[in-house]
């Protein structure tokens, strides 16, 4: 493999000095002076209600109030994959916290006062508060649901069957949606993803051991430390400029164009640094709310910064899930059949969530080869907060069940759980759940790496005190980027007079280090030092198109666009250099800002001497060097609507394994995660320190979701919308982390072999901890989180049983 000079090195983050000095600007930091107005949003107190009347007359009289808008001002439906929502509620409200009206005023106090004075008359409607009963839709449809949805959940403690007769979206069938999304009109099912591989009956007939369980996960919140914020300004010519804390500048522009019938050329989205995303700032969240206010107030800057409570209630949450998994293996330990029913609690609007249902469906085997599969994955409307993308996009959710099924099966078969996984792992050429061949399937490498590192199979150290129980658990994972098959990236590289370069992309720096990673890719190809290349933050008027910064796809997809742009710029430099030096371009190389023939490095030209062209005696040649690059992943195919079968639903797959060492306090049920050993295969590492940082952050986020994160919803009302009652991990909660990064299978179409890493890092943590709890205590918990209360209750129950 070629020696890299910049790639694979832990070069300092491009944004580090900005961020340690306080110079880094986030949306709320931008100063707009006297033209600044403050927006506040009136939100629904009801989980489901018809809006009968809205009276804003009193509110409008509050001194300082400049404008009030409601659903009347923006009636167009928008959505990323399914256009099912309006910017403000129109006919109905469908979750507590849904925007009903917006106020712009010259102070926050005046805006708050006005919000209180808006009178809304509601007719409360029955609500749908769990996805299983919600999936049934109207009573009359019960008998029309597929036989597989027979009332298997009756009597299970985790399910309530309240209010089965309520429809959330009466016009579901009229909503426009992406061709690979399949709503079921007349129900609350906004996407039904079906997968049929092999012969499920023959599969189970061949099974010697069958394990069936229902696994549940609650809603959790991304809890980025920066609350969502947006500022809109409309100039006298009607041009909209939006400063947004967003992962998706181009998607924001597109959806706002649709919502307000504007040409995209009249919308400019500027995204400064984003204080954490994790999916919660993808698509459109609060950005559109300020636009109609700004449209009424030309010249003013209308700013909305969400409160922490609003972030918890009114931005995307991770969807809840009820997963019934029935898994069969033969006595040699081979997986032979899987039946999966996945009920995703999509919340009130599932414009984004429908695609999570699809990913969860076509990945429902987990990283294992299973010849016979029947999966039904339902995205279900409920009167809960809006479900959306969150780190892992369905994978932490489905692996929660899959990885416990593996342990349970292994135990029944008397096989070591690691060996059982290794035996069934997807390998090169294995057929995935979707029927196509897996490429670059490196799960076994990560299993072996973790096993060696943590000493799997050896003795587990004894507990620190007598009342503590020590355990060790393993979980594996795979994940592909979930995106439309044609998700595009593009890049422009401008060479400057001094031989430095600017890279223009609309890839978003959300903390993952994209500025630095993309600079390293460009610098490597252009033969420049990493610090000579600067990647700019997005401004859709000036930076070229990027679909979204999601799906762990930026290093791969935007990286490919940047690499193509760098090659283009390099070709231009070499063409001029070839003429100046009278040496064929093919004999020239660029390194450290110098262009020279390999055979005679002394005969060199500086990049800075030709970046703007070159003046030869016979006249000028070349010109300012501008490289352009674009990328769409090749060969991604659709999946059959009835069988979910196809060749290649995603660009690449990242594999990983984690082992958790834990202690359970038998007196309190409290779990302490002592150590997590993790291995990921990432194709090619761009920046080892940043890559490792992703794994550290993902493990700790996974730990939070495992032990305590749970947005408590009672009849649709969130009860813990702050950091006191919704606990996320603090520094004292972090385990020792032993991290292994492998480069065994460079991605053929990844820049320098790169695969994505950011999301996979949190996927296996929760099931690894659950498996460790079982190892320690013999107690198996199927619903997240593994709270001390729940563990203690389970321990007591087990004790009672044994006595």
């Amino acid at each position: 493999m070629a020696e890299h000079r910049v790639l694979g090195k832990s070069v300092p983050r491009q944004d580090a000095v900005d961020k340690v000095t306080g110079a880094a600007r986030f949306v709320d930091d931008i100063q707009f002076g006297p033209s600044l107005l403050h927006a506040k949003i009136l939100r629904s107190p009801h989980p489901h209600a018809r809006i009968l009347a809205i009276d804003t007359a009193e509110a409008a009289k509050v001194p300082g109030v400049k404008a009030i808008v409601t659903g009347r001002d923006c009636r167009h439906y928008i959505g990323l994959y399914l256009a099912d929502r309006t910017v403000y509620a129109t006919d109905k409200v469908r979750f507590v916290g849904e925007p009903v009206a917006g106020v712009a005023a010259d102070s926050i106090e005046a805006a708050n006062e006005a919000v209180k004075l808006i009178k809304v008359e509601y007719e409360p409607l029955p609500g749908v508060f769990d996805p299983v009963s919600g999936a049934l839709g109207r009573d009359v449809l019960v008998h029309e649901t597929p036989a597989s949805s027979d009332l298997w959940w009756q009597g299970l403690p985790c399910i309530t069957t309240k209010a089965p007769g309520t429809l959330l979206h009466e016009h579901l069938g009229e909503y426009t949606c992406a061709p690979f999304i399949h709503p079921v009109p007349g129900t609350n099912i906004s996407n039904h993803f079906k997968l049929r591989k092999g012969d499920i009956d023959r599969g189970f007939a061949a099974a010697d051991v069958v394990v069936e369980n229902v696994y549940t996960l609650p809603h959790i919140q991304h809890s980025q430390i920066e609350p969502h914020a947006a500022v809109a300004q409309v100039d006298r010519a009607g041009k909209v400029t939006l400063w947004a804390s967003s992962q998706s500048p181009n998607a924001v522009r597109k959806l706002i164009a649709t919502a307000f019938e504007l040409p995209m050329s009249k919308i400019r989205v500027i995204t400064p640094y984003v204080g954490g995303g994790f999916g919660g700032k993808a698509g459109v969240t609060c950005e559109a709310l300020v636009v109609p206010l700004a449209m009424r107030l030309p010249g003013y800057h209308v700013k909305l910064t969400l409160t922490r409570e609003e972030v918890f209630q009114a931005t995307f949450v991770r969807q809840g899930l009820v997963a019934r998994l029935k898994t069969g293996a033969d006595k040699t330990g081979r997986l032979v059949a899987l039946e999966a029913e996945l009920f995703w609690d999509g919340g009130a609007y599932t414009e984004y969530g429908v695609n999570i249902t699809r990913s969860g469906g076509y990945c429902s085997s987990g990283p294992y080869e299973i010849p016979n599969i029947k999966t039904d994955s339902y995205c279900v409307y409920t009167n809960h907060p809006v479900g959306g993308p969150m780190r892992g996009f369905g994978m932490p959710e489905i692996h929660w069940g899959i990885e416990q099924q593996m342990d349970i099966l292994a135990e029944k078969l008397g096989i070591d759980p690691l060996a059982f996984r290794r035996m069934n792992a997807l390998r090169e050429g294995s057929l995935g759940a979707f029927g196509g061949p897996m490429e670059g399937a490196t799960l076994v490498d990560t299993i072996d790496a973790v096993a060696a590192k943590c000493g799997w199979g050896g003795p587990v150290p004894s507990a620190s005190t007598a009342h503590k129980l020590r355990g060790r658990g393993i979980a594996c994972m795979y994940k592909a980027p979930s995106m439309p098959p044609n998700a595009q990236s593009s890049a422009i590289i401008k060479l400057n007079e001094d031989g430095t370069a600017h890279v223009l992309t609309t890839a978003m720096e959300i903390g993952q280090g994209s500025l630095t990673a993309l600079a390293q890719i460009a610098a490597e190809e252009l033969g420049l030092a990493a610090d000579k290349v600067v990647v700019t933050l997005p401004d859709t008027d000036y930076t070229p198109y990027e679909w979204q910064t999601v799906a762990s796809r930026i290093s791969y997809s935007a990286g490919n666009a940047v690499l193509a742009a760098a090659r283009d710029a390099k070709a231009q430099l070499l063409a001029v250099a070839a003429q100046v030096l009278a040496i064929p371009a093919t004999d020239l190389v660029i390194a450290d800002g110098q262009i020279f023939p390999l055979a005679n490095p002394a005969r060199k030209l500086a990049v800075s001497d030709i970046a703007m062209g070159y003046l030869l005696p016979e006249g000028a040649i070349g010109g300012p060097v501008i490289g352009r690059g674009a990328f769409i992943p090749a060969g991604i195919t659709g999946l059959d609507k009835e069988t979910g079968q196809g060749d290649k639903p995603a660009a690449f797959w990242t594999y990983g394994t984690q082992v958790a060492d834990i202690e359970v306090d038998a007196r309190t049920g409290e779990i302490t995660v002592l150590k997590v050993t993790a291995a990921y295969e990432v194709g090619k590492i761009i920046n080892p320190a940043m890559c490792k940082g992703q794994v550290q952050g993902g493990i700790v986020q996974g730990l939070g979701s495992a032990l305590y994160e749970h947005l408590v919803l009672v009849d649709g009302k969130p009860l813990n919308s702050d950091f006191v009652d919704y606990k996320i991990p603090t520094a004292t909660d972090t385990p020792e982390m032993d991290i292994i990064l492998l480069e065994t299978s460079p991605q053929a179409d990844g820049p320098f072999g790169v695969k994505g890493i950011a999301e996979p890092t949190m996927v296996p943590t929760a099931p690894a901890i659950a498996n460790a709890v079982y190892h320690a205590t013999g107690v198996r918990i199927l619903d997240l989180p593994l709270s001390a209360e729940k563990v203690l209750a389970a321990l007591k129950k087990k004790q009672t049983r044994e006595n």
């Binding site: 961020k19 000095t21 306080g22 809890s223 640094y273 922490r308 940082g693 550290q696 700790v700 520094a731």
Partner: protein, 157 residues
């Protein structure tokens, strides 16, 4: 309205303030010092941490009118790009930040700890910064950065 005089990053500031405004408000809005971040405005996340009279505080919980005669240090009062404070440099060197939103508060928390306990143990560092939430890094590199300055003495200076 009340007039107070306080010192912010060594500069004397005379401000006339409405009584309900917080130190965080006036730093960000009146003085343009946006290094202290709004995360929760309830003292739960630590993103707005500044050092007030030598002690770290959540500036969202401090009413500005209480501050007559006070001394405030914000991240802007540490080194600039040309001469980073050793702890800022350690954050850069140890990749102790990702999105950067908690970073100013974390750095000031680290400064406060090292001022009162120049040789903390790793457990002491974790305990001390446990009121400052970070959702990106998993804290390991933050702890490492603080320990690097603690253990390294003048090495970074």
């Amino acid at each position: 309205m009340k007039t107070v005089t306080l010192t912010v990053n060594g500069q004397s500031e005379k401000l006339t303030l409405a009584p309900h405004r917080t130190l965080l408000d006036i730093l960000r809005e009146d003085l343009g010092l946006t290094g202290a971040k709004r995360g929760c405005e309830a003292g739960e996340c630590g993103a707005c941490t500044v050092i007030l009279n030598g002690k770290p505080v959540n500036s969202c919980l401090v009413l500005a009118v209480e501050l007559d005669g006070a001394e405030v240090l914000t991240v802007e009062g540490l080194g600039g790009p040309e001469g980073l404070d050793p702890l800022q440099q350690a954050f850069v060197d140890n990749f102790a930040l990702q999105c950067g939103y908690c970073t100013p508060g974390m750095i000031l928390m680290g400064k406060a700890l090292l001022a009162q306990n120049p040789r903390p143990s790793e457990a002491e560092v974790k305990e001390f910064i446990s009121g400052n939430l970070c959702r990106c890094t998993g804290y390991e590199n933050i702890v490492k950065a603080i320990m690097a300055v603690a253990a390294g003495g003048e090495r970074h200076g």
